[in-house]
Amino acid sequence: MEETAKKLEWKRKDLLGLNELSVDEINEILDTAEGFREVSTRSIKKVPALRGTVIVTLFFEASTRTRISFDLAATRLSADVIDFTGSASSTLKGETLNDTAKNIEAMGVDILVLRHPCSGAANQLANSLSCSVVNAGDGSHEHPTQALLDIFTIRRALGRIEGLKVALVGDVSHSRVARSNIWGLQKLGAEVYAVGPPTLVPRGMAKLGVHVSHHLDEILPEMDVFNMLRIQKERQDQGLFPSIREYSRLFGLNRHRMKRVKPEALVLHPGPINRGVELTPDVADGKQSLILNQVTSGLAVRMAVLYLVGTRGRGAPAEEKGT
């Protein structure tokens, strides 16, 4: 009997970012993801929850792990998945994003997973389409599923988020991962530290309640989690830091720095790692690194997100429930 079972409250058509989500909504995604973790351990790694649902992954930027993770999550929910790579087709012929998306939607798509280099692209599509839109990264705006999987990984490892001190180290300015993490972590009661050279940490962080530090060594012993953001090598050409080597010396996690962190402190990285830049290989593969757990968590979190938006208030009123 289900009369006393906890009901899902999820009402949103889209998942665009963590900024707009309530604490309850974030927790609902994380709790749902817990229920999906076990699916990947079965001999038949599939549940019929989204049978008949069509999901298109529309990617206008290179990505392997996010796309594979969404594909696999959708497949494990028994949805039909179609991959669409923006640069390879009609966009080259001058079609606008809206037109491309509307055409895809007209084929009977239920969920569109969008990765786009322009901030706000997902919000724009969500407003003009009646199908669900899941933001898989838009410009330097948000990457909600990445932040959710980071938070999910931390919550599983440390049992809570509230009261934790989490450092986002590196290119905070250009990082949608950082932005989504800041919203999510703060809502759940963590203290967030933005750590990096002044050129890569935007002004105004303090206004968001984020602590700013330009010296990783200063904050090492206090942090519970280090989320090492990826350095895009092209930023060096823009003169934002003098050299990769210097960046790594000042902001990279290495064996010596690991000696000064809390013994239970966690190391995260959204990937792909530049080994020897953000992390030395011994730290990336070390005991405190949860980088591969993040990938596994990502699958559960994306299944939860697709399930929640994909089954939201569909169809007729509920019949009396069978037992």
């Binding site: 009997m1 899902l8 229920g35 169809g315 069978g322």
Partner: protein, 184 residues
């Protein structure tokens, strides 16, 4: 006043458990049982509570029983019709299902749709030797060709009624409530 009170509920439960025990003992004498174990698998949440109670007394050194709990919310056939969905609670089957005899446990057998979903779920974990079904109450009104192997009691209800098995583990007093549909 509950429809079935605490004392009567206790008797009902232990008779039901007794019949399951006898069947398992009889089965233990056969040759095929050398090769396969029994597993109690409860359907969340109330079926799982009952399965845990059964396991506590039926699991002995002489007759070891495997144990699991399943959440069928991802296997419902009405998820596309529902406006309200239950929280996904997760399934915990940590043993290898292949060749095992599974006894599904639920509180109430009604349309049979939950049991259909539970069978589909179990089969996604492997190929059990047998799937059997134990329900505390069978209230009739089946919509699928499904029957239970162990029934605590058959109860006469109307389709619109609601039958609630109340359990201490859920913060209630053991018993059964029958909520008659309005207009009766």
């Amino acid at each position: 006043m509950p429809w079935i009170g605490g004392e009567e509920f206790g008797r009902l439960f232990s008779e039901w458990k007794g019949r399951i025990r006898i069947a398992m003992d009889a089965d233990a004498g056969t040759a095929s049982s050398q090769r396969s174990a029994w597993a109690l698998v409860g359907i969340k949440r109330r079926g799982a509570v009952l399965a845990r109670r059964l396991w506590k007394t039926l699991h002995t050194e002489r007759r070891p029983l495997l144990y699991g709990e399943i959440d069928i919310s991802l296997y419902r056939d009405d998820y596309h019709l529902q406006t309200e969905k239950a929280m996904v609670l997760g399934t915990e089957i940590t043993f290898r299902v292949d060749g095992v005899k599974i006894l599904l446990v639920d509180d109430v057998l009604y349309t049979g749709r939950t049991v259909r979903a539970a069978m589909d779920l179990v089969l996604d974990f492997g190929r059990p030797r047998v799937i059997a079904l134990a329900v505390l109450l069978d209230r009739g009104h089946r919509e699928l060709p499904i029957a239970a192997d162990f029934v605590g009691r058959e109860v006469d209800t109307r389709r619109e009624d609601r039958v609630l098995v109340l359990l201490e583990e859920m913060g209630e007093k053991d018993g059964v409530d029958l909520i008659r549909s309005p207009g009766e």
